[in-house]
Symmetry: C2
Subunit: 514 residues, 2 copies
């Protein structure tokens, strides 16, 4: 390496971290950390920061990488800088502390990202470098978007998917359970109301198997399993608390995000959500890495297939099933995939509290409980029981049905809720409005994506009582003026907003005459 | 379409725009418009805004689409909201005005973007929809990143590239010139110091051809043609002013951004720059759409080829040349591509003012003017003269050389500068430091990308006097301790920062012993 002039001697006013006094402006930009600096700040000038620069902000042993925004006028005094609220908390710093600000270090894996964008494969080392930078917070939202896009569709082959899963596992926590057989379940999603987990877990735990279920909050849907469960019991448990619940009851339904199992997934999801983009490789890596991190040995994947859910065709389902099994095997997981019907919502509720009511109705064996949700849950629970050796091949559904009928599943569910911190009553929305059929006829098609969107516009999942109560499954014969579904919201504004969208959509529920 | 209940009647407190009183907090986030709202703002609650929501902010006839950030505490009073500075200016609004805030409308082309990400082709209508949304500001930075990534590498075929170019032309201004033959030139870039335009334009104009050159500022490089020219004369001319310069002198060198020729390109570049991503199709569409918009009929493309510039191989160059010609022909442009040497910087200067000095030295025929810059400029000017019928095939270089030798090119350049607003002297940097050879030997390889990065870290192009003065071309025999290049900066901090980076890079200039 060639040496330079007198560069061994540090320059005056060099780029080593400069310190500024931290202020809080009370500005919340959620996960995108921002550093607000005075445009005439002497640190900026000497080090060459400008708006949109990426900077490293350090305090004690922690640091975050933030984007610079500049402030004129009186918001900050000379020598002060402010962080967005989430960044402040991540840093563990408080107003008045001195923070160290320097240029963000070169992000080493960006050349790997470029290579992938330009069509090259990513080997295991490259995946590790990228995921390492992702978890460290070194990727700007734009870089994350580029990575998600470059991997979307079918752009990751099986080896890359395995590499991605391994890299995700390597950067998160792993839970190890004493039991030799640890059951788990996951639904690929896109099907509103498909909350079978809350019924499957108590059935499987009641049968004596261990099923420590960690679930997500909604990503692009109106309710995630964790959101729905949260209307019934606390879900943000620490790993220690989660272990105690499982020790006591054999099962749990908690929020995976609180257990930090897959920090890479958490970061990537922040960009996948607004982009509404995903890919087969990313899906497989995301699901299986979380299951390995959660300590599972046996995983049942529920994969609904239909024109308006995530997996659109039987061919795509077969491809995903094969990939899930192969990558699972390489990771030490036994994976079974149930290909199910994705043409219409499951149950009646779409939205956390509305779905929770469906679940309770099934567990309580209420006469008007949604039969489709009940049947799907029994089929899936039966598959888990068979994988776990608690039922003979083909006999799982019957064993599950008897556990449900005998009230043991309900008792187990109530016990799990109590162990997680106390069972609660799901809230009810203050406002609702029915959407009526314009003419008589038979229901021939249902647009799940649009129904989900309506539920989200109504406020789900942030407003847990909001959503859609669906009343017209396929083949229902309806009269003119009959409610097809009811929109629930916590305020009149959201209700109107959902209906504004609905009025502009033809055939969310298609009705054929005669 | 099925009708809904009583949804024909607007709901109370509906989602029609709510108004808020505008404040300025003096916060500059550059092009990403942000709307700062109080977290307890009644508008937010009734309409369902939250952090990261995309909202439409209207004032009089204009609107912008912005991302929401929430503010606690005292920055805003009840009923107030603030916009980032650039958004405020774009809206033409002032503190105290009432702005209308509503949810951003659905972005129609996002389904087209998804389709492209998932591997489908984009037809002309889809391209138009996407580019329409891009120009309207409806795409968030993440969506722009996804689009750029989905088109990167070779992911646009020739028909898509043509569709993209047409969509970009359709959303920008077009200049029409009275002359039947309008010459233009473009360099594909990545080669530091390659500022031939400032010599080619005066030669071509002195020969009696019309050459209204619009150029870019730096995208990912330490200097764009517009940055370099700006150290010598004003470049941000209106279209009317530009026409007067061309009428008077036959040519000009102005900043394309001030003439709004390609608003789509301007938006996409904001994301291409931090991502450092591009693609063949995007490149072709970007270059040719700007040339069509600028009113050119004949375009010469300078395409340097080398391992450390944008076009890495002869094969890639041939592919690009063929695509430029074919797409150009479809757009009514005669396109010629000169494939040139991209293995080392051209001239000595890398950075606006340093390059400007090289250009003046050539035009003034100074004895120490960089011979390589001179020769390249003569070759390219010669090709333009031949395309324009002012020299016989193969004779262009000699005609160009005689115009330079006779002082007519210099006189024309000075006249163009005067017509653009007045010739000025390029600034000189206050600080500089040489980088010395560690050992004796012959220069065998030069990393253009790293040299460009060093120039940028030193402050180019924002600091016009900053950059690198390169002194050791390929095959130079150097002694130990001899300066290979000199880093110039306007402050000691930037100088130190550039050297910090340099010290960590082996073989920016590779020297072989013996």
């Amino acid at each position: 390496m060639t040496a330079g002039g007198d560069s061994a001697r540090p320059a005056v006013g060099g780029p080593a971290a400069s310190t500024l006094r931290l202020r809080s402006l009370g500005i919340d930009t959620l996960q995108e950390p921002m550093l607000f600096m005075r445009s005439d700040c002497s640190v900026c000038r000497s080090v060459g920061f400008t708006v949109l620069s990426r900077v490293r902000v350090g305090f004690a042993a922690r640091h975050v990488v933030a984007t610079v925004a500049m402030v004129d006028g009186n918001l900050l005094a000379d020598g002060e800088a402010a962080l967005s609220e989430t960044a402040l908390r991540a840093l563990g710093a408080h107003p008045g502390d001195r923070i160290a600000v320097s240029h963000a270090p070169e992000v080493g894996s960006l050349s790997d990202l470029r290579a992938k964008v330009f069509g090259h494969r990513l080997d295991d080392d490259a995946m590790r470098r990228i995921i390492g930078d992702v978890v460290a917070g070194n990727y700007s939202p734009l870089h994350l978007a580029a990575f998600v896009t470059a991997c979307a569709g079918e752009r990751l082959d099986e080896a890359e998917t395995l590499g991605l899963a391994r890299a995700m596992i390597g950067t998160g926590e792993r839970i190890v359970w004493p039991q030799p057989r640890v059951m788990d379940k996951h639904c690929v999603g896109g099907l509103p109301g498909n909350r079978t987990t809350l019924i499957v877990v108590p059935i499987v735990a009641a049968a004596g198997l261990t099923i420590p279920k960690t679930s997500s909050r909604a990503i692009t849907s109106p309710a995630g399993t964790a959101d729905t469960m949260e209307t019934l019991a606390p879900v943000a448990l620490t790993t220690a608390k989660m272990r105690r619940v499982v020790e006591r009851e054999g099962g749990c339904i908690v929020w995976g995000g609180a257990v930090a199992l897959s920090p890479a997934d958490d970061v990537l999801i922040r960009v996948e959500r607004p982009l509404d983009l995903d890919g087969e490789g990313q899906l497989v890596a995301s699901v299986l890495s979380k299951k390995v991190a959660a300590g599972a040995t046996h995983v049942l994947i529920d994969m609904p297939v239909g024109p308006t859910v995530k997996v659109r065709s039987a061919a795509a389902a077969q491809r995903l099933r094969a990939e899930m099994r192969a990558v699972g095997r390489a990771l030490g997981l036994a994976v079974d995939v149930a290909i199910t019907d994705g043409r219409q919502p499951v149950g009646r509720g779409i939205g956390p509290a509305l779905e929770a009511r469906d679940v309770l109705a099934v567990l309580q064996q209420a006469p008007d409980a949604p039969a489709d949700l009940r049947e799907r849950a029994l089929q899936l629970a039966g598959a888990v029981l068979e994988m776990g050796g608690k039922a003979p091949p083909g006999g799982g559904r019957d064993v599950a049905a008897s556990l449900l009928r005998g009230g043991r599943a309900l008792a187990k569910f109530e016990a799990i809720c109590a162990a997680q911190g106390g069972m609660r009553i799901p809230p009810t929305a203050a406002f609702s409005r029915p959407y009526l059929a314009a003419r008589a006829g038979r229901v021939t098609a249902i647009d799940n994506r649009r129904l989900a969107r309506i539920a989200k516009l109504a406020g789900a999942p942030q407003a847990p009582a909001a959503g859609v109560q669906f009343l017209a499954p396929l083949d229902t014969v309806v009269m003119a003026g009959q409610p097809l579904f009811v929109v629930h919201a916590e305020g009149p504004g959201e209700l109107a907003y959902a209906f504004d969208y609905l009025m502009a959509q033809p055939d969310v529920v298609a009705i054929a005459e005669g």
